[in-house]
């Protein structure tokens, strides 16, 4: 029902605002941002802490509602969706990865990855094989029964990627995905995200405060300050990087065995 071919509009924000009251002061976390993101784009949201990049990401994720303006993802205006519809949107249209991984500690990796499938009411038998395949894709097929705490940060983030992708979302939202990882592990994760962006034509919107990381992987960088969009540049480096880094087996290259924690 939605157009998701390359080049079509994936995300559009129209003068979107997210204001909230903190004590006496009115905080303008997001203050009138209008952007268009095409399907298949890899976009980095840059800015200092408190610049509003995470708030904007939450609005696109459907976790939060704008105070004013519109957030339109694949033709759906999130501002007018019911809570139930927003949950469906989060389940099927977006996948999220976080800085702190956000795996459920009491569940094994397999169960963590299966969880969105439970919400999607997928049958038990099908669920397990889908989750296994997803974990295999991020190089964690040997760690199915482990709990998150038994794994390294890189492995946890890969598991969280496997979970984000299990329902085949059109949009991957990443909030500082390498923030808790060392640079080597961070690079592995970024390579994985890029491979999904390219092989699945998945739109990626990534929040980061690392300019270098954004320049290396994102095709476009949005610079935010005080809730406002101050810069919107496409990165030539990323395009060329894409071309040079393309290998015949991107999956294998990007999924080495994880180090011990």
């Amino acid at each position: 029902m939605e157009i998701s071919g390359p080049g079509s509009l994936a995300v559009r924000t129209e003068n979107v605002c997210r204001h909230y009251q903190m004590g006496e002061a009115l905080v303008r976390a997001v203050d009138g941002i209008s952007i268009d993101i095409r399907a298949g784009e890899f976009v980095a949201l840059l800015g200092a802490s408190g610049s509003g990049k995470s708030s904007l990401l939450n609005l696109v994720a459907g976790l939060d509602r704008p105070t004013s303006g519109a957030v339109i993802v694949h033709g759906n205006n999130l501002a007018v969706l019911s809570r139930e519809q927003l949950a469906k949107y989060r389940l099927h249209t977006v996948g999220m990865v976080f800085q702190s991984f956000n795996l459920i500690p009491s569940m094994s990796l397999l169960e963590n990855v299966e969880l969105p499938l439970r919400f999607a009411e997928i049958d038990r038998s099908e669920r397990s094989s889908l989750a296994r395949r997803s974990l295999e894709r991020v190089g964690l097929s040997g760690r199915l029964a482990h709990r998150p705490m038994e794994l390294s940060g890189g492995e946890q983030q890969r598991a969280s990627l496997a979970r984000a992708l299990i329902n085949r979302p059109k949009l991957l939202l990443a909030d500082e995905p390498t923030g808790n990882l060392d640079s080597r592990t961070g690079t592995e994760i970024m390579e994985l995200i890029r491979s999904f962006n390219q092989s699945l034509n998945m739109t990626v919107l990534m929040v980061t405060h690392e300019q270098a990381l954004a320049e290396k992987y994102a095709g476009r960088m949005l610079q935010l300050a005080d809730g406002k969009l101050i810069d919107d540049v496409s990165s030539r480096d990323a395009r060329t990087d894409d071309a040079t880094n393309m290998s015949s087996e991107p999956m294998k290259a990007s999924t080495p065995r994880g180090e011990a924690p």
């Binding site: 939450n58 939060d64 989060r90 099927h92 996948g95 976080f98 459920i104 569940m107 439970r118 919400f119």
Partner: protein, 456 residues
């Protein structure tokens, strides 16, 4: 989420903080146990009381009396014809009463005190006629040792247990149980005893004054030898009329003997076939009032104790209500425990709720999960509680019977756990738990995912 997934996740969440959830579940168990113990006690007492009353015939018997007999000694307050015009309670009246819908049978109450000889020793006791139908009406003669009368007018006799003891020269001990009725029966069954009675023979020719309802009969003393065929442990103090006697004869035999009534009032009867009273057995206790009315309309006195049983039932309904309230108090306390546990769980699992919402859980999923956790605690708590309550009930019963034995009373089942109570208690426990889960579940569902994810 599918039902299976909700329950699966709920149980695994309960296992995660097993200690706290166990304590909460134990709280529910204690609540359910107290409820089950209280109610089973109430039901047990009620069953004990109704069993005794049913055996007594209180529920299904109407006594029909001739109002003629009342004429000289009681002021009439009831409506109906004056006693003198009241029809006589004779065989045709008996047949008419038997025609009333719902009536199983109507038989005369024949009871007299007489001399019974056994082993050439005399014993003075009450003798009663028992209708042959009592064989099938088995609650009256269910514990009979030996057998029932072989035919409607067989020269046979069934003895009450205490009378059998008297015949054998044994002093009855209080608190003796049913077991020794078999021993009592052994030396007696098949033996013969003799009753002495006075026969009333109608002799119209010898009527001196020609009075229509005078004492136109003569009295002849007779003896009848009877074979002991059975022993019953029917309580002689029980309320069923005939069972006040201790020696039972077939009713037809007694009628054939034309025994002179022990009550002088009966001499007013115009002929020998008029009865002083009839026992009218009704198929269904609910029909008793209707039958009673019908008999009254025919001009007879009618009497039943159905009102007494109604107030007894009322008493037990109130008692059960009180016991249930006390039992429920513990369950109410337990339900507060559930609310507390689940609210704590929400605080603890705030981040987890945020994660679930971020990856696509709807409000309904989260609500369902907490709801299922409450329900699961209710189910497990209910099942344990019923078991615990059952054990408590057994213990109370056991203790009571030790006490009864010391007081030389026969043991009694004062406690009963019917299946509906088991299922009802578990269902009630689940219902109370779900009710307690309403607020926490709604609260968890309303949680803002952005806030929840920020929570460490």
């Amino acid at each position: 989420m599918k039902f299976y997934d909700v329950t699966d996740l709920a149980f695994r969440n309960l296992r995660e903080s097993i200690f706290r959830n166990s304590l909460t579940t134990i709280g529910i168990s204690v609540g359910v146990a107290s409820l089950v113990a209280m109610l089973s006690l109430g039901i047990g007492l009620q069953q004990l009381a109704s069993r005794r009353l049913e055996k007594s015939g209180l529920f299904d018997t109407v006594m029909a009396t001739s109002r003629r007999d009342l004429r000289n000694f009681r002021e009439q307050r009831e409506d109906g014809p004056p006693p003198a015009e009241s029809p006589s309670l004779d065989e045709s009246a008996r047949k008419k009463i038997e025609q009333i819908p719902g009536v199983v049978e109507a038989y005369p109450d024949i009871r007299f005190v007489t001399d019974v000889r056994f082993d050439s020793k005399p014993h003075l006791t009450m003798v009663a006629g028992v209708p042959f139908s009592a064989r099938n009406n088995n609650d009256a003669f269910e514990g009979v040792q030996g057998r029932f009368f072989s035919s409607e007018a067989a020269p046979e006799v069934i003895l009450q247990k205490s009378f059998a003891e008297e015949l054998l020269g044994m002093t009855p001990k209080p608190g003796t149980d049913n077991a020794n009725i078999a021993e009592l029966a052994k030396p007696l069954l098949g033996k013969e005893l003799t009753i002495r009675y006075a026969e009333r023979t109608s002799s119209p020719s010898s009527s001196p004054a020609g009075q229509s309802d005078g004492a136109a009969y003569s009295v002849v003393s007779h003896e009848q030898t009877l074979k002991i065929v059975g022993l019953t442990d029917l309580d002689p103090d029980s309320m069923r009329g005939t069972t006040r006697a201790r020696v039972f004869l077939p009713l037809a035999l007694v009628q054939n003997l034309h025994i002179m009534p022990s009550s002088l009032r009966d001499t007013s009867a115009s002929d020998s076939l008029s009865y002083s009273s009839l026992s009218v057995r009704v198929a269904n206790p609910n029909q008793v009032p209707a039958v009673e009315d019908a008999i009254k309309k025919m001009g007879f006195g009618a009497f039943s104790l159905v009102d007494a049983t109604r107030s007894m039932r009322q008493f037990f309904a109130v008692l059960d209500g009180f016991l249930a309230i006390f039992g429920s108090l513990a369950l109410a306390v337990a339900s507060i425990g559930i609310v507390n546990t689940l609210v704590m769980a929400i605080l603890e699992r705030r981040r987890e709720i945020g994660i679930m919402k971020a990856i696509g859980a709807s409000d309904a999923d989260v609500r369902g999960l907490f709801f299922a956790e409450a329900g699961a605690m209710g189910l497990v708590g209910g099942a344990f509680g019923v078991t615990l309550g059952w054990l408590i009930g057994r213990l109370i019963n056991f203790g009571t019977n030790i006490y009864l034995e010391r007081q030389h009373f026969p043991p009694a089942q004062i406690w009963s756990v019917p299946l509906w109570l088991v299922l009802g208690a578990i269902a009630f426990s689940i219902a109370v738990s779900l009710l307690s889960g309403l607020y926490p579940a709604a609260r968890a569902a309303r949680l803002d995912p952005v806030q929840a994810l920020r929570y460490e």
